[in-house]
């Protein structure tokens, strides 16, 4: 930057500038004018003097001024504030287009917080001021039969009331709609559950009927009484032994449950399984080999006998 001399000579002729440069007052580089800084006045002593001059030496009743701190936060107000804070945080998080504040600016720009602060200050003033007035023995509240002109007209207050009512109605309606929506959601869920239950019962019933048809069950108790699991068990205990064994046999023969297709096909493991293979013995000594060797070998009857047997069976 230039020296003070250079600054004052900003509009001077070239010669002067050259002289200044020769003297070494100007340095190479950009020489710019420094903007003059505004001096802000803050004459504290004069202000104090003025204050003493104009101060009215009157009792407090004449002035009614108070310096007071905000009243402690009422619990319901604190709760409301917390809710508001959460709501606001959500709002700000959800929408980046909304102006994002620095936290130190928040008390100024956060309407709810700011207004609550003023409200609390007023509360503090009321509690202090009313107590002081009562101590002085002055009437504070207006009796119910004291009528006088109000600051706002009745007409205006009617408007205010109407607006409040409208707001309340709107809030109620939105609340009801919300409840209905919730109800519908729950109703749908319940319907689905009821449907499932119905289906399950039907399936169970059909199973029982099948059991009866196959002879596992003997009674038809399940038809008339659904809510007797004990008797059901008893019914199951009274199972026909013969039918059961028959069922078991059928199951082993035809299979029960599972996939049937391809179950009898050879697989790699089944074809590789040679556990049942027995090496054929010598044709002459066949009677001596294996378990059958000890007992009588059952021989196939001859052709004639077989024809006879067949005809007899018919």
């Amino acid at each position: 930057m230039s020296s003070s001399e250079g600054e004052s000579d900003y509009n001077s002729s070239d010669e002067e500038l050259q002289e200044a440069f020769a003297e070494g007052k100007l340095k190479p580089g950009l020489n710019a004018v420094e903007p003059k800084k505004r001096q802000f006045k803050n004459n504290v002593s004069a202000m104090k003097q003025k204050l003493n001059e104009i101060k009215l030496a009157l009792p407090w009743v004449e002035r009614l001024d108070m310096i007071n701190v905000p009243a402690p936060l009422a619990p319901e107000l604190a709760l409301q504030m917390q809710e508001q804070e959460v709501k606001r945080a959500k709002q700000l998080k959800g929408n980046k287009k909304l102006p994002q504040y620095a936290p130190e600016e928040d008390p100024v720009l956060n309407d709810f917080r700011r207004e609550t602060m003023f409200h609390r200050q007023a509360q503090g003033a009321v509690m202090e001021g009313i107590a002081r007035l009562k101590k002085l023995g002055l009437p504070t509240t207006r009796p119910d039969d004291y009528f006088a002109q109000m600051a706002k007209s009745d007409e205006h207050m009617q408007k205010v009331r109407e607006k409040l009512m409208k707001k309340q109605v709107i809030a109620q309606r939105s609340e009801r709609v919300r409840q209905l929506r919730q109800q519908r959601k729950v109703g749908k869920q319940m319907q689905i559950e009821a449907n499932l239950k119905k289906h399950a019962e039907k399936r169970k019933m059909l199973e029982e009927v099948k059991k009866y048809q196959k002879g596992i069950r003997r009674d038809l108790d399940f038809l008339d009484d659904k809510k007797k699991p004990v008797s059901n068990k008893a019914a199951l205990r009274r199972v026909d032994k013969k039918a059961q064994s028959k069922l078991k046999m059928k199951n082993s023969k035809y299979g029960f449950g599972g996939k049937k297709r391809g179950s009898k096909q050879n697989t790699r493991s089944s074809s590789a399984d040679v556990s049942e293979y027995k090496r054929p013995g010598n044709p002459g000594k066949s009677s001596k080999s294996g378990r059958l060797g000890k007992g009588k070998v059952k021989q196939r009857p001859g052709k004639n006998r077989r024809v006879q047997m067949k005809s007899k069976r018919k």
Partner: protein, 297 residues
């Protein structure tokens, strides 16, 4: 049963009596022969001239009307021509027998300035009034007697900073309704709060619903941004300047400048891109292409 009811009745009656005694209502009948009761002393005789200069908009005018309804000790005055110097106000106050002045000065139908002055001797303050909500606003649900005396509540800053303590005295004398003012009411049903936040004074007016702190806002609302404090009334030496004050015109200018800068910036960026764009994207060696195919095949 009957006895109990009777007892209760008696109790209620007793309570009523005690209440009546506390309130000290005036006698129902008064003979005309008696001398009129002596008027109670009205010591604090403040009279405030409330008026505006030409060029304020409707909202500001409504604010002025609201302030007038809340201040029974005001004197009205017709709008002042803007060409006059503000020194004239001192004479106007003298003629109207006022010792305080509250002048609204509008600029461009946009900005509102408020002058508060202690007339013969000063001091005098100029405020920029921001964020105005009048009493007509429907969201403010409170109401109060016209001309009842407000409690004035100031926050801590008014006791610590010298400029604010001076302002406190001025605000108290102007906005406080004098005790026993003939147009005032003898009850206390609203409270003004003046709080300093963000280097501004925020004004709120609440109705006292219950005496344990139930409040409803009456309005008006406004924010006073102090500009300057002068030693005498509408003139004289400057006692204090607000270092944080930016005039609304300047503020609007800065916004438009910023918007203009956006376009310039974009143009410059485009030019810079064109100027700095290299002609060749990559310095290729032409010899590289000779052995492009595999040599071995």
């Amino acid at each position: 049963m009957v006895k109990k009811v009777l007892k209760r009745k008696r109790k209620v009656e007793k309570e009523n009596e005690t209440k009546a005694e506390e309130q000290e209502l005036p006698p129902a009948k008064r003979a005309s022969d008696e001398p009129a009761p002596k008027k109670i002393k009205w010591i604090n005789k403040q009279r405030v001239l409330v008026f505006a200069s030409r060029g304020i908009n409707h909202r500001d005018r409504h604010l002025m009307e609201d302030i007038k309804t809340l201040m029974p000790h005001h004197r009205p005055e017709s709008k002042m021509e803007r060409s006059k110097t503000l020194q004239v106000v001192n004479e106007m106050c003298e003629m109207k027998n006022c010792n305080k002045a509250l002048l609204f000065e509008g600029r461009k139908k946009k900005d509102l300035y408020m002058w508060l002055s202690n007339v013969p001797t000063g001091p005098c303050v100029k405020f920029l009034v921001e964020n105005i909500y009048t009493m007509g606003e429907l969201k403010m649900t409170g109401n109060c007697l016209k001309g009842s005396r407000p409690l004035l509540s100031f926050d801590d800053n008014f006791s610590t900073c010298p400029q604010y303590s001076l302002l406190k005295e001025l605000l108290t004398q102007i906005f406080g309704v004098p005790n026993h003012h003939p147009k005032s009411q003898p009850f206390f049903d609203h409270v003004y709060t003046f709080s300093v936040l963000d280097n501004r004074i925020w004004f709120r007016n609440f109705q006292i619903l219950t005496e344990d702190g139930g409040l409803a806002e009456i309005g008006p609302r406004f924010v006073l941004n102090p500009v300057k404090i002068f030693a005498s009334s509408f003139g004289g030496e400057t006692l204090w300047d607000n270092p944080n004050y930016i005039s609304p015109a300047k503020y609007r200018q800065s916004i438009s400048k910023r918007a203009a800068g956006k376009y310039l910036n974009r143009v410059e960026q485009k030019l810079a891109l064109q100027a700095n764009k290299p002609e060749k994207s990559y310095a290729l060696n032409p010899l590289d292409e000779i052995f492009k195919e595999d040599v071995t095949t």
